[in-house]
């Protein structure tokens, strides 16, 4: 095999190696869309115009605030925006529960479509939605009690 082919192959291999690196970086790019709303979120106005059946039943009342009904923080209210809410004892939680029976990162309330869902984050004592222990994320309707340790939370319009 002559010298020229060898050099070409040598440089070709280095190119191949870098091609791999750049393809990986390219594939990573999609992941950078941090915090973008989920695909399963509310359909846009345009999508509704094309497929009318996508439109949500409008009658339901929207949850606008969260209220602590029982527990050490009873009486606290919190305005609900569009971002997920972390419930727990940790300082970084959106609603810091001063409850001995809550875990640091106990549960998460998040909006999806027009509803709020609650999801247990692997807490020690569990999260209860109207007296049923959560095993996966569940939609929360207005006025349904969510129990975390000694604290009970409800969503209000």
């Amino acid at each position: 095999m002559n010298e020229l082919t060898l050099t070409a192959l040598r440089l070709g291999f280095l190119l191949l190696l870098w091609l791999l690196v750049f393809s990986v970086v390219g594939a990573m790019r999609r992941d950078l869309a941090i915090g973008r709303r989920n695909r399963t979120g509310a359909p846009s106005a345009r999508e509704i115009r094309r497929n009318p059946e996508l439109a949500e039943p409008p009658a339901r009342q929207q949850a606008r605030q969260l209220i602590v009904v029982e527990g050490p923080l009873a009486g606290t209210t919190m305005h609900l925006a569009d971002s997920p809410i972390l419930l727990g004892r940790a300082q970084e939680a959106t609603l810091v529960l001063e409850d001995d029976y809550a875990s640091g990162r106990h549960a998460r309330l998040f909006p999806q479509g027009s509803r709020w869902f609650i999801e247990d984050l692997g807490s020690t004592n569990g999260t209860y939605l109207s007296d049923r222990q959560l095993t996966r994320a569940q939609p929360v309707d207005l006025g349904v009690p969510i129990r975390i340790g000694k604290t009970v939370i409800e969503l209000r319009p």
Binding site: R10, L16, A27, R105, R108, E119, G149
Partner: protein, 481 residues
């Protein structure tokens, strides 16, 4: 430790495409090594190619079935690194040595173990139950090389191997994983306590003395490894792992300062007392003096030969198979980075370092996305350990820091290291699957019995049993879906 939402798509096809590219690199490298004298496709080339391809595709298929939403970039990157290592070790084999085939066997075993972990470990939080057991396991693993009857004696100046039948094994590599599991479990449970208690001193919040306990224990373990096993690299790795994890858990700079003080004290004293540490330092600082270069043992011959090799490679390298990395002692294990520097040049070495960098960022990405703090800490610790290991090895070979005997993950010859690193990769894949999986929002099924809401006075009483019940229903839900 904030949460990050992810675009939830499985992207297994992207993984397959990148995996094929990675296999092309690995097989290409293996073929290139024999090109200059026309022995490319002789010997074990075809066997190695087929085994590597089949095994990586098998891991990919296991991911398709079991962890559909796992990170799509981790597997291709690891296969690239492992394949490059196989090619280089194969190329360095002389008539007397058989490292290449041994490395292929260990690679297959490593991939099989990774596939088994992905298959059987459905939820990484399962490991949290074994927090303290993994502490005991780590202690046992670390002590094993010192037990007479088990130990393989002192090899190359360090006592870190045990004898298992005909093979030797380095239990310290596995201890890396069990220690990360322990730290993650311990810190995710006690994080709030460590965070809130303690006195303030100016801008620093000092921890309470009893919260310092585990840190002092980690420091003592690292010192013990250094003294009794004469393994500077692992000692740095274990302590660094703990420091990273406690910093990530508490985001308090005071821990890092305390840790660095302990490292400085330990390093200074070790440099004074232990001759093997002192000679490492000497051959780092005065590598090019005649006296240190020629000293045996403990001279700088190895480092300097490695540097000459990389200088010989220059920007584009001599080409695979055309350099003389065999002039460096231990070219297939400790100095494999120097071998790559010589034959692929700076351009190739940068690509390899970037592969490591990308792999580690994917680990941290899994940590960012994970919703539970145990998973966050575990993914973070495991990827930080891998990063630290790369830094210590590559920094040592390029004379940025003293050379220590750690293995380059996936590249270097060494079965224990390969197995441990494949398990780490499997754990990262499982955690990233949990992080990227869409939240299951299917409504209650009618057959699901309502849970027993605890009366508000005794929520902890049934904690453990209930948790188990949740996990059971969870796996059941997945199965039905």
């Amino acid at each position: 430790m904030s949460g990050v939402d992810t675009v939830q798509r499985s992207r297994r096809n992207a993984e397959l495409a990148l995996l094929l590219l990675a296999l092309a690199v690995a097989v290409g490298a293996n073929a290139m090594t024999g090109l200059h004298n026309g022995t490319s496709f002789e010997g074990d080339f075809w066997l190695q190619t087929i085994l590597l391809t089949v095994a990586s595709l098998a891991v990919h298929i296991v991911l398709r079935f079991r962890s559909k939403y796992a990170d799509p970039l981790i597997l291709p990157l690891v296969v690239t690194l492992n394949g490059l290592g196989l090619a280089m070790i194969h190329r360095l084999d002389t008539a007397q040595t058989e490292y290449g085939n041994a490395q292929v066997r260990w690679t297959l075993l490593g991939m099989a173990l990774a596939a088994a972990v992905i298959w059987f470990l459905r939820d990484h939080r399962f490991l949290r139950r074994y927090t303290y057991i993994s502490l005991i396991v780590s202690a046992v693993l670390l002590v094993m090389p010192l037990v007479p009857g088990l130990t393989a004696g002192e090899i190359n100046g360090a006592q870190v191997w045990i004898r298992l039948g005909p093979a030797t094994f380095q239990p310290g590599e596995v201890a890396k994983i069990t220690l990360a599991v322990f730290f993650a479990g311990y810190l995710s449970t006690n994080r709030d306590l460590i965070l809130l208690a303690g006195r303030r001193l100016g801008p620093l919040q000092l921890p309470r003395f009893r919260d310092l306990g585990p840190m002092l224990a980690a420091w003592l373990v690292s010192i013990g490894v250094l003294v009794f096993q004469r393994d500077l690299g692992s000692s740095i790795l274990f302590f660094g792992l703990f420091m990273v994890m406690i910093y990530v858990a508490t985001s308090r700079v005071s821990w890092v300062l305390i840790g660095l003080t302990l490292v400085a004290v330990g390093g200074f004293v070790a440099g004074r007392i232990f001759p093997h540490v002192a000679s490492r330092l000497d051959s780092w600082l005065n590598a090019f003096s005649d006296e240190v270069f020629g000293r045996d043992p403990g001279g700088s011959y190895q480092i300097v030969q490695g540097l000459f090799g990389m200088a010989n490679g220059g920007l584009l390298g001599t080409g695979l198979g055309e350099g003389r990395p065999d002039l460096v002692p231990f070219p297939h294990s400790d100095m494999i980075i120097a071998a790559f520097g010589e034959e692929l040049g700076l351009v190739g070495l940068f690509a390899i370092v970037l592969c490591y960098g990308l792999l580690i960022t994917r680990g941290f990405r899994a940590a960012l996305g994970a919703r539970d703090s145990f998973g966050k800490l575990l993914a973070c610790g495991l990827s930080a350990a891998m990063g630290l290991q790369c830094f210590v090895v590559i920094g040592g070979v390029t004379r940025l820091i003293p050379l220590t005997g750690l293995t380059t993950p996936f590249l270097a010859a060494g079965g224990s290291s390969l197995l441990a690193n494949w398990i780490i990769v499997a754990l990262l894949l499982v955690i990233s699957n949990a992080a990227r999986r869409p939240v299951d929002t299917t409504p209650w099924r009618p057959d699901e019995a309502p849970g027993h809401a605890p009366t508000s006075s005794t929520p902890t009483a049934k904690g453990r049993g209930q948790r188990k019940a949740i996990e059971e229903t969870r796996t059941e839900a997945v199965r039905i879906k």
